[in-house]
């Protein structure tokens, strides 16, 4: 592959048109990616604000900062904002939108108008949800379990439910778009086994989006209809089964965890390969483990229901399948580790975020073994152990991976560099702060502190306080990138087409890329990470 373009055009996708309308009506996947970045960041700030309130409240056991009712709304809105509006779209919709067509050597995604529509649908869903927050919030927890959500709660379940329902379609359309793009828009010579691993990961994610999201959409709609019009689907007074809701809800919402974690896994493969200057060890195993995770991910949902009244034999089946799905994740981790062996590791900021990811994902993944174990899950279910576990995966894993990818592709997206030292520092702060925040919660959980508690017994205070202290460090760690990246966007050093000397089609066009990506159709003749085959040239 070529390392740099011969000529740099002064025109790029950012500056070729500059009116507001040219952004709001754009069909350019790169601009849509940036628009997602702005809207997801807004949702992240909202979610983080609620997280801060939660930790502040839990600094003391008495529940004296917020009232119980407000606290319940706060943790619900934290969950809704973070799950549906940050974690699910973060990597696929921001980084996926930006780099996927570039990686494939395509001019755009298959359906650019649909792509823009997805963004509008996303924003509409976000608007409904923010509306629900402004009109007093929701207090059902992000899981909307009936009968509380259908008759118990006095909050804006309908508005938030509609918001989630609408956003679901954004996810579906994005997934559909990506799948078609990967099937139909690859450059000549770009066979499946020459695809970057990020593409494999995004493909697997898109599969989950297409197959799972409709189910949660209809399930949330059923709750909304039951609440609004009194139709009975889950109402125990009519003989309905509230547990059926949980089945349908987790049929999507467990695979949704893979929507969150698979694309960051793909990012990790890209970044490790680039900064190790090496092939990813066991390319096809890493590629197929993504698909395996996506498919097996659909077979494990009822491990969220071990104490919810499902049959013991069914619980065994799901426990077994859950252990099985741990294997592909383990395979990925081992392959990344092996990739580092005899590498030539260039310590730039994205690699620091990758190391953070490896550490946190390791803990998150391994603690999954506890929750998958039936006998232990009876004890730790619905406690802070579970809270810590999924934060390690979803924040430690997914958000670290998002930042790794953001730092990796930032020069491509903006054409500018950021301060490497500051970036490494914030990776360190996030890693340390994250562990301080969430590791104590494992201990709290095993001690038996239930989740979603506004007040708690006083003997749990020390650990909770440690967690709150860690959260401040974590907050600074997340604030820092917002500052230096914003600075970089306007004032950063020019990056050039390929600052990391990486392989991959996205690095063969200029930074920021041309409005239609490539001057001429790229033709691919080799695998994705042939670092060892080539002489490295400085552009």
């Amino acid at each position: 592959m070529i390392t740099a373009t011969a000529t740099e055009s002064p025109v790029n996708y950012l500056n070729h048109q500059s009116t507001v309308a040219s952004w709001l009506l754009t069909k350019d996947h790169k601009r849509i990616g940036l628009m997602y970045m702005v809207s997801v960041t807004i949702a992240f700030i909202i979610g983080a604000f609620f997280a801060a309130l939660i930790r502040a409240e839990l600094a003391t056991p008495q529940g004296d900062l917020l009232s119980a009712d407000v606290y319940n709304r706060v943790f619900t809105m934290h969950g809704v904002a973070m799950v549906f509006f940050v974690l699910i779209p973060a990597v696929p919709a921001i980084l996926g939108n930006f780099v996927l067509p570039l990686m494939l050597g395509a001019k755009d995604v298959a359906f650019p108008k649909l792509n823009l529509l997805s963004w509008y649908v996303f924003v509409l869903g976000l608007t409904f949800t923010v509306g629900a927050m402004i009109y007093g919030g929701v207090d059902t927890g992000w899981t909307f379990y009936p009968p509380y959500s259908t008759e118990g709660s006095n909050s804006n379940v309908l508005l938030a439910g509609i918001g989630v329902f609408i956003t679901g379609f954004s996810s579906i359309l994005t997934g559909l778009n990506f799948m078609v793009t990967i099937h139909r828009m690859r450059a000549p010579g770009l066979t499946w086994f020459r695809l970057p691993l990020f593409v494999w990961a995004v493909y697997s994610t898109a599969l989950v989006m297409v197959l799972g999201t409709p189910v949660v959409a209809i399930t949330v709609a059923m709750v909304a209809v039951e609440r609004a019009f009194g139709l009975g689907f889950f109402d125990p007074r009519l003989g309905g089964d509230p547990v059926l809701f949980q089945h349908l809800f987790w049929f999507y919402s467990h695979p949704a965890v893979y929507i969150m974690i698979l694309p960051p896994m793909g990012v990790i493969s890209e970044v490790i390969a680039c900064f190790s200057r090496k092939n990813v060890f066991g390319y096809s195993f890493v590629a197929f483990s993504s698909l395996a995770i996506a498919v097996f991910g659909f077979l494990v949902w009822a491990h969220h229901l071990f104490v919810a009244g499902i049959s013991a034999y069914s619980a065994m089946v799901f426990s077994f399948l859950t252990f099985a799905v741990a294997i592909p994740s383990a395979v990925k981790t081992f392959n990344w580790t092996a990739t580092l062996y005899r590498a030539a590791i260039w310590w730039k900021a994205p690699m620091a975020w990758v190391y953070g990811f490896m550490g946190l994902f390791l803990v998150g993944g391994l603690t999954g073994l506890f929750t998958a174990s039936l006998g232990i899950d009876i004890h730790i279910h619905d406690t802070y152990f579970v809270v810590a576990h999924f934060h390690y995966i979803m924040v430690g894993g997914a958000i670290m991976g998002y930042f790794a990818g953001l730092h990796y592709w930032w020069p491509k997206m903006t054409g500018r560099m950021y301060h490497d030292g500051l970036a490494k520092l914030s990776a360190l702060l996030v890693f340390v702060g994250f562990n301080m925040t969430f590791f104590p919660q494992f201990i709290l959980g095993y001690l038996g502190m239930p989740r979603r508690y506004h007040m708690y017994p006083p003997e749990f205070q020390v650990l909770n306080l440690a967690s709150t202290a860690g959260a401040t460090v974590l907050g600074i760690g997340y604030l820092l990138p917002m500052l230096y990246l914003t600075y970089s966007f306007f004032k950063g050093q020019k990056a050039g087409a390929n600052p990391w000397l990486a392989t991959g089609l996205e690095w063969t066009t200029q930074s920021p890329p041309l409005p239609h990506n490539f001057i001429e159709q790229p033709i691919v003749t080799e695998g994705a990470y042939e670092y060892s085959k080539r002489e490295i040239k400085v552009a």
Binding site: G152, F281, A326, I378, H381, P450, P457
Partner: protein, 332 residues
């Protein structure tokens, strides 16, 4: 109990050491892998660093034996944990035959307990040490979850049916009891205490206070008040089936299905009698929905259970005594 910073919960039941043993085993296994990967990653990070960014790594693409190895080894370890965890699980969900029966209802935001002998309490639960105790419970409104951390057990309370947990306490004292399934505003206030007492203290406690008669006696009273006894004659000649010895036995339904008469079935038969009609009987029974509350239902169930017990060792040996069915009892 409230002093110091607890880092590990008290082991308060026979189940707790079992769960904890498995827990420590998994801690050991996962720590091993976490340390292994971390050490390798950090070591490689130092050993193979290159600050120029211009060198390239060794041309290694993969190794099939390694891939197979690190797929199979975790798989077998995971299967080992799965089997062990399932054994612990079955111990924790399958109660022994002879238990102290306690009934409970969860409602926003309190737990109400009833003892068979008639004692009632709210957000407090008194149990004897060293005897298996089974708590059967339901919810009057939304989902709740009865959770006692020191006993390492919990189960969701679901409106419309019964759940249960069981435990054999091994330590006396006062322990936390939580609602672990989010249930609305005062979810975190739906907590209480379990008091584990010496057997004689427990007996004294049981007989203290103004008793209103045992649960089955209350159930029998209701049985007559609601005129159940006019149809459900004990000799089986009534318009409804005899309830003697029914509890815990298989019942053949008019649809041809056979189901076991457990708490949920008795409850359903009172509230929605037509739904699962006993084979050979007419759908004559009216619903008692709205005429009886959750606690009354539990009393009736306890009464039906007591009818089964009176039959044990009685006239017909073949009529499955509740305590029979050895095949379904715990293996050990």
């Amino acid at each position: 109990m409230l002093s110091g910073i607890p880092l590990f919960p008290v082991q308060g039941s026979t189940l707790a050491p079992e769960v904890d043993a498995l827990y420590f085993f998994i801690v050991a296994v996962t720590s091993f892998f976490a340390v292994l990967v971390s050490v390798l990653v950090i070591y490689f990070g130092f050993k193979y660093r290159d600050d120029t960014g211009l060198k390239v790594g060794a041309p290694i693409t993969g190794s099939i034996p390694l891939e197979i190895g690190w797929s199979l080894v975790p798989f077998f370890i995971a299967m080992g944990i799965f089997v062990w965890a399932s054994v612990v699980f079955f111990h924790s969900v399958r109660p022994p035959d002879q238990t102290v029966e306690i009934y409970a209802t969860g409602k926003r935001w309190m737990w109400r307990f009833q003892h068979v002998d008639g004692q009632r309490e709210i957000n407090q639960l008194h149990v004897p040490i060293g005897r298996p105790v089974k708590v059967t419970f339901t919810s009057e409104d939304v989902l709740h979850d009865l959770y006692i951390p020191v006993f390492r057990t919990k189960a969701d309370a679901i409106p419309g049916r019964y759940s249960s947990i069981w435990f054999t306490p091994t330590k006396t004292g006062e322990f936390h009891l939580f609602c672990a399934e989010y249930c609305g505003t005062k979810h975190s206030g739906m907590i209480g205490s379990v008091f584990v007492m010496e057997p004689d203290e427990y007996q004294a406690w049981l007989s203290s206070g103004g008793l209103t008669g045992s649960m089955s006696a209350r159930g029998e009273q209701l049985f007559q008040q609601l005129a159940c006894n006019t149809c459900h004659l004990n000799d089986g000649t009534g318009r409804g089936p005899s309830l003697v010895g029914v509890f815990g036995s298989p019942v053949k339904l008019s649809t041809g299905q056979t189901i076991t008469a457990d708490e949920t079935y008795v409850r359903e038969s009172i509230l929605t009698p037509q739904l699962k009609l006993v084979n050979g009987y007419q759908p004559l029974m009216p619903t008692f929905q709205g005429l009886i509350n959750e606690e009354g239902l539990l009393s009736l169930i306890e009464y039906v259970k007591s009818l089964g017990e009176s039959r044990t060792g009685g006239q017909q040996a073949s009529t499955a005594a509740p305590a029979a069915a050895p095949a379904t009892a715990p293996a050990k």
